[in-house]
């Protein structure tokens, strides 16, 4: 589904952050991407979702047979790529439900499906609200406006549940969550797991992986993947830290 090949990239100030990332994710798999601060995890998430400002200097990214880097951000989303933001953005005055319905209908249009009307949409929304233990009042508020940190993260996973992406990239969705919220978020991610989808979870900590068990774990350090393994790698990291991997640059 996703093939990243020897990817090099710079951030806006010109510093090279990714130095040859190679990663292959198949449909049905959940990958955890771990690593110390500044190792390039969020940069990679930004590049995959089409965030402006990054410059890819070498390498390729293939998504379902297409050149992902050639697609604008909105097109990627309509084609099923989803980024759960580390810091979700507030949009005052824009009703959460309205926003989500516009997003879903944009995706459905791409799939050649008809728009959902307000009634059908509400039904879908209610079923997912329960899953993520989100109150209905949240729907009527502005997008992320006045949400607590935990609510924002849960809202990201809620959006994901509604949009049903093919490739979900979760950027530190677990950070700042208490244990109850963490379990709820994990439930949301697990509900999405199936043979046709893939998930890339970026995280600092192993604790999320207790609830969402990954198929593969990778350590990103110094802008490249320095080690890959199964779930036991995460446990090992929890014990020994990232020190062993140092700065691979």
């Amino acid at each position: 589904m996703l093939d990243i090949e020897n990817l090099y990239a710079c951030i806006p100030d010109g510093r090279e952050i990714l130095k040859g990332v190679t990663l292959s994710v198949k449909a049905g798999e959940v990958h955890a991407l771990m690593g110390p601060n500044g190792s390039g995890k969020s940069t990679l998430a930004g590049i995959l979702s089409g965030k402006p400002g990054y410059q890819v200097t070498a390498g390729t990214v293939n998504y379902e047979g297409r050149d992902l880097l050639a697609m604008p951000a909105d097109e990627r989303a309509r084609e099923g790529v989803f980024l759960a933001f580390q810091y979700p953005v507030e949009i005052p005055g824009v009703n959460n439900t309205y926003f989500l319905r516009a997003a879903l209908n944009a995706r459905r249009k791409q799939q050649g499906k008809p728009d959902l009307d307000a009634g059908q949409f509400l039904k879908l929304v209610r079923s997912k609200l329960k899953l993520l233990e989100i109150g209905e009042d949240l729907l009527q508020r502005g997008v992320n406006v006045g949400f607590s940190g935990g609510e924002k993260k849960r809202n990201e996973v809620f959006q994901m549940a509604i949009l049903e992406p093919r490739l979900a990239i979760l950027d530190e969705t677990d950070s700042g969550l208490d244990i109850d919220a963490l379990q709820t978020v994990a439930k949301g991610i697990n509900a999405l797991r199936d043979r046709s989808r893939a998930v890339v979870m970026i995280t600092h900590y192993q604790r999320l992986l207790n609830f969402v068990v990954p198929d593969r774990v990778h350590v990103l350090s110094g802008g490249r993947i320095v080690k890959s393994g199964d779930k036991s790698l995460a446990l090992e990291l929890e014990k020994s830290g990232y020190a062993a991997y140092g700065d691979a640059a």
């Binding site: 402006p52 909105d74 953005v89 507030e90 009703n95 989500l100």
Partner: protein, 483 residues
Amino acid sequence: MTDATAAIGQLGALREGYKYGFVTDIDSDTAPPGLNEDTVRFISAKKGEPEWLLAWRLDAFRHWQKMEKPNWAKLRIAPIDYQAATYYSAPKKQSGPKSLDEVDPELLKTYEKLGIPLGERAALAGVAVDAVFDSVSVATTFKATLAELGIIFGSFGEAVREHPELVRKYLGSVVPQGDNFFAALNSAVFSDGSFAYIPPGVRCPMELSTYFRINAANTGQFERTLIVAEKGSYVSYLEGCTAPQRDENQLHAAVVELVALEDAEIKYSTVQNWYPGDAEGKGGIYNFVTKRGACRGARAKISWTQVETGSAITWKYPSCILEGDDSVGEFYSVAITNNWQQADTGTKMLHLGKNTRSTIISKGISAGKGQNTYRGLVRVQPKAENARNYTQCDSLLIGDKCGAHTVPYIEARNPTARIEHEATTSKISDDQMFYCQSRGLSKEDALSLIVNGFCKEVLKELPMEFAVEAQKLLAVSLEGSVG
């Protein structure tokens, strides 16, 4: 020749670049250029007006001669040569495109984006009306309905002929001839406009002018509107149109007067989309408008809602004089300035009666090199016990070359007054845009979503059918403002 006169002359040529523009030959009966007492007499005679109205116009003209153009607004205006303009030009017959096939496809695309009903597009584009759209018969049907209720609604000229006593009683009673420079100019040379009278206790069953907007489109550069709502009556009036409006004249100076008697309510909604000038700031309409309503009786209510997206210059302060006890004034405004547009707009709420209340919600959006100023006065007079005002002014900036300014004036002369003022300025951030795009919305849809969210409190005050068009208009007005 001054810049402005040159611009007036060039407007025709510039229209080539105006994507909504086209040239219409009008076989007109035109007054010689210049402005003097003879011009005023010429206009009055052409319209077959009674002696008292001519005298009223001449009085206005004499006031105007002694007045100076106001210069307190935050607007850069090239000098206007009033002697070079033409003040009367009556279209004899319309000769435009014969069918929609002859209309600029760009213009039609815009109509489509705005969701203008198919039947109205041709008429708005200036296609000879009787050829495709029988608006006259529609108008006649509705006029009959209104007449049954005793509602008078028609052109100002018609009202002068058929209901001179009403016009004479109320004309200038809210905006006197010498009120300000542009109002005085309008009073001297006004071309035509609308008149509405709602008898006591009658609730007008339709949005006035919804069905007439096409016919009313050609009322000229010095429009005059007068609406009188008798005791216990209600009327909702729509002015303007979301469709881009063509006009040969660069200078517009309209006057609108509203009179609401005891327990009456007037809701006045405007969508203004005159030619804003090109991307370099050439051309565009200068829009100097005086709008004022008087709540003359107890519990009267006047509500202004405006969506201002057009014109190169907007100078406009729809106001309420709250004379009656417990009367209510409201002002809801969205003003967009893009490219080189300038807007200085706001309101005046004058509290004279006891327990009078006013609400001001102003949303200014600046993009390109646009300059947007909110200017508002809230004045509580000594006798206005327990007056209350709530003001909220929000500014939204798109890009880093535009400006937003808020200039509130608050004068409380009664210690029981309660006045609240809130103001915010924000910027559409790249993060907001990216967040929307990462959910599958195109750049245009993302911008439109954010802007409409920002304006929501105002847009919800518009009558339903207008609100949908206005939302789309906001998006069209800001096209190309994000890279």
